[in-house]
Symmetry: C2
Subunit: 281 residues, 2 copies
């Protein structure tokens, strides 16, 4: 139900990852401009950077994997920092068995399907940081949860850093990937993420004609009748188009990556200019 | 950081569960009327009934507890029903090791602290239901996720029911409890829950004087200066008051439990009547 396709079944014994039904997807009318996407590592880092809590899986004494909701702040390397008490079951679990993982989902806008949201699992083991790492880890957590500085001084609390060894990212329907630990550690979170929701609404509310033109030109769907921005990120815009031949997802890319939330405005202005200048080849 | 107090520390070696600092809580000026509360079992059932997804902790082949976000629908006994694929790691995990748990949190209103929200962990083991139970389990899931009926026919999908053996409920700061499996199974979800958010806003926006009067009379704080409804449920209203002596939480109870979201209106009207009729004893 999560890592999985959602089309209607066609045969009762078919593995759902095989060919499936689902709505007709229209092919492009011409070749779209190349459009960069965030790597799975960047997607994972972006989710982690935007989150302030997640779900921890630790191992209880009786052998049952134990799910609990935890607060965390992430280090510059994207390692979650937990400050947990042995008064809580997960705190006792981590003290006994450091192997664990954290699932992090993107916030779900009201009225939207929680299964369409992106999510990531970071698996590995927790360590108790020492020296300088202990300070920077607590700083990372306390940026989001200032009272953790006080809690961390209690005898029953421990500050842990999750050493991330295995990463599984799911971007929604049919977008998922395993990410190597090294790729995760070195990837950047999207610096425009905090402005994406606003920019998406603004494009759909006030610039729907522009979005349609981008899809009709750079995006490869000359016969698009309607277009809606589904997402925006540092590298470009995801659009859903309706054509007389069915609907389709379209990606249009910025000429250069946006570097901040405010930068999305300039990037979309440049995109509009490129779309107006576009001619069929 | 989750099951834990959040007051400032007083001693560096003190267990945080001991005496702590924190804002002054004013004592009542007179004895409050008795006010029923939901049992921890009812709290847990209410959270589960309102949720459509949670975080599963399953055990990966390498021994790492694996956190993932899953869709579920609950049976009439409050047992989560999952429909998962072996194409997903959690699906392979459950097929190999049925012990698992699910953490469920209440939805977090925008701008509110995710750590103040209530949450529950249901731990036990999954079984593959048979016969009539298989039908009713899939029905429970498909009420929320209709496409699961199709998915369940694929060979890689399995429908599981979580047999709940151990329940840990956390209601927020200093409200938490372990719930016995039998108490969980027989408790009711709050039938008014769907109307609680609206009723709370309505009381605070349009009936703040009433809420203050309830606190001053039935609630035991004659010198309350301000009062805000923090929560409402089938049995009564949680109020936060400000007095010249500090602030305090106040509970006032309905004469009889509300049976539906619409019923909250009548229950609060009766409460207002009782408050006006109240006289110091």
């Amino acid at each position: 139900m999560t890592d999985t396709a959602r089309e209607a079944p066609t045969e009762s014994t078919e593995n759902h990852g095989g060919s499936g039904g689902g709505p007709a997807i229209a092919e492009p009318t011409h070749e779209a401009q190349p459009a960069r996407r965030r790597t799975p590592g960047e997607e994972a880092r972006t989710l982690v950077a935007a989150a302030n809590s997640g779900s921890l899986a630790s191992l209880s004494e009786d052998g049952t994997p134990w799910a609990s909701i935890v607060a965390f702040g992430a280090t510059d390397a994207g390692e979650p920092v937990l400050v947990v008490s042995t008064m809580a079951e997960h705190g006792r679990n981590l003290a006994r068995e450091p192997r664990c993982s954290i699932a992090i989902g993107e916030p779900v806008p009201e009225g939207e399907d929680p299964l369409d949201r992106a999510r990531v699992t970071l698996a590995g083991h927790v360590i108790v940081p020492e020296g300088e790492e202990a300070d920077s880890a607590l700083d990372a957590h306390a940026r989001l949860y200032p009272f953790a500085r006080g809690n961390a001084t209690y005898a029953d609390f421990t500050t842990y850093v999750l050493r991330v060894e295995r990463i599984r990212w799911v971007g929604g329907f049919a977008r998922m990937s395993t990410v190597e630990a090294a790729d995760y550690a070195t990837a950047d979170a999207d610096p425009t993420a905090a402005g994406a929701a606003f920019a998406r609404r603004h494009l759909n509310d006030d610039h729907a004609d522009s979005v349609l033109l981008w899809a009709q030109t750079l995006g490869g769907y000359a016969d698009a009748l309607e277009a809606a921005c589904e997402a925006i990120d540092r590298y470009g815009v995801d659009i859903r188009v309706q054509t007389p031949r069915g609907q389709a997802p379209v990606r249009v890319g910025f000429a250069s990556p946006a570097q901040s939330p405010d930068d999305l405005r300039g990037a979309t202005v440049a995109l509009a200019k490129a779309a107006r200048a576009w001619t069929p080849s």
